[in-house]
Symmetry: C2
Subunit: 354 residues, 2 copies
């Protein structure tokens, strides 16, 4: 990330400085991976604030910023920096807590709320970021392939989740983007079930939703498998519909298209099949340093898709008492069209009893 962009934005917004408080935004701007920091950017200077615990780490990770170690209460360090730098109009991120806003408001500077300033930059991925996301996808896929044999009758959801987690770590992921979901049978109709001690049974739909990581960048994917059994026809039917919806969203996703049109294209497939009310979530979301970030692929969002955006496409149908299907891929907009980053097969796989 080139911090000159931020200096230019500060000048354009007619503020004297911008206080960055969101840790992922700070990581994006500075490279710092610790859990306690602020960044204060003026028209021509960049201050990085952290506490004693991260002194050495900050000195190793951060180049071209003045590193300031906080003493006593955070806010005093910030007040003194505002005063010393002669800041009269201070931009702040609207994601700060109300209580932080209140104490910041006593600094003497006029506060200017700034919305999504860094988040907007983060939507467009650099080559390095894309390489990290691709690696995060590959790690997640390798891990899944190593535990796929466990998806069979008699194995507990919790066992699959634990083994998948182990494999993710083994593949090099330092952290998980979210708690792995393994939801089988009637549990699979809860889109955000985690996992239980339930054993997989004959005829179960099994949803696995997991992600990988590489250098702080995440991946996110879902596959649904079907365990052989009786009365599978509606389960097979909803799988086909969801897969068609996913395919439709993928072909709709092009540079210049509104995100809500991608959502609508997938939703229409499900609606025409008569399952509209069983697909209650958005079709996708951006992925990067946060596993859920801009752009939201939602019917509420009218922003347009651009080159280098990375996001998920994940339609689903969830039938209480029967089970659910979700198929989630990650895509990258490259040369105007959506390239699928996820390579695991999407055709329905029916697991036969061995």
């Amino acid at each position: 990330m080139n911090p000159e962009k931020i200096h230019a934005i500060i000048k354009a917004r007619r503020i004297d400085a911008f206080l960055v408080s969101n840790l992922k935004n700070i990581q994006y701007l500075t490279g710092f991976t610790g859990s306690s920091a602020y960044a204060l950017i003026t028209k021509d200077r960049r201050f990085f604030l952290t506490d004693f615990r991260y002194k050495e780490q900050a000195e190793r990770e951060i180049k071209d910023w003045d590193i300031i170690i906080q003493k006593g209460k955070w806010i005093k360090t910030i007040y003194s920096l505002i005063k010393k730098s002669g800041i009269k109009r201070l931009g702040f991120e609207v994601t700060v807590s109300y209580v932080f806003f209140e104490i910041l408001n006593k600094s003497g500077a006029a506060l200017v709320p700034l919305k999504n300033l860094v988040e907007r930059l983060r939507k467009f991925k650099t080559e390095e970021e894309i390489a990290n996301i691709k690696e995060a996808v590959q790690r997640a896929e390798r891990a899944f392939l190593n535990i796929k044999h466990l998806i069979r009758i008699g194995v507990r959801e919790s066992e699959i989740a634990k083994r998948l987690d182990e494999q993710l770590k083994k593949a090099g992921c330092r952290k998980a983007p979210f708690d792995i979901i393994v939801a089988s049978g009637i549990n699979s109709s809860m889109p955000h079930a985690k996992f239980t001690e339930k054993k997989i049974e004959s005829g179960d739909l099994v949803i696995i939703d997991w992600g990988g990581e590489s250098n702080g960048y995440f991946s996110d994917m879902t596959r649904t498998l079907l365990i052989d059994g009786s009365n599978l026809s509606e389960k097979k039917k909803i799988y086909k519909i969801v897969n068609a919806a996913r395919e439709k969203a993928l072909t709709t996703a092009k540079e210049g298209v509104k995100t809500r049109d991608i959502d609508r294209s997938a939703r229409d497939v499900i609606k025409k099949a008569g399952y509209a009310k069983f697909f209650g979530h958005a079709t996708g979301h951006g992925v990067g340093l946060d596993v859920h970030e801009a752009p939201s692929i939602s019917y509420l969002n009218s922003e347009r898709i651009s080159e280098t955006m990375v996001f998920t496409v994940e339609p689903g149908i969830y039938l209480p008492g029967l089970g659910g299907v979700r198929i989630e891929d990650m895509v990258l907009i490259q040369n105007g069209i959506a390239i699928t980053l996820t390579s695991l097969p999407r055709e329905l796989e029916i697991i036969k009893q061995r």
Copy 2:
């Protein structure tokens, strides 16, 4: 948690309702473990709001609350509930984002900022909570004992962290409270180092900081080991000082004592030994549904220790270029005194080469 307490607080504060937005506070009040929810409590009613994805989970987990499924934008569901319930004065948690405060402010109700209302209740643990925390401690200890043999010359920090993480999962922990720290040699002088590809070497101090989980409740502990080698005298010396500081804090921690006096008691031991400036963090913090929660055992905090509080005691000395020592135990205030929940030994263990 008895929600009647909240109704009583609402009446005492002369507000019509209280909107809870912090997810851990919501989990504490309702039992809900999902990641998208609000709770609105009036003088005599309790509304639980979540989205489509968590409908079934909410119905399973939550008793005695009216469950409302959000549609479209969150804020519209909240506005409509405020209107329907005739709420004129609405309390909100100051931890909400500034941007959420701004849109909530358009609801028509007068907003009353409330600070630490639920957090204050969470400081005092019930028997069930204590049982979960104890289980989280035991799981973390079992996991550590299963990987302790790896702490030896030639093993990478990353390998130890991965194997410890696997063992935590195997012990039953569904999530980790934080990224495991394995910091050896010069890395150990960074109090919040994570882990690197560095191999453990002769003469290294090795800090391991990790935690367990049980039913959403966390544990947090640190042990420092010394690898046999030459020039160990200052390393042994700072270990002794830190251990004495820990012991001192433990005996100081009693019902009625101010948390800052616990901090001071540990800090004085380190100060008298001449290492004051190498202990830059607070002596401890509360642990529960959050791994860092109230009370802070800090020189900035004048609140008093009470029965059923659970917190860490974790003094440290960090010498850049040489290494660091931290020893962290969890304690529970029971019958007026601090009971140590952590049972792993605290005496310096020197790992001989095999």
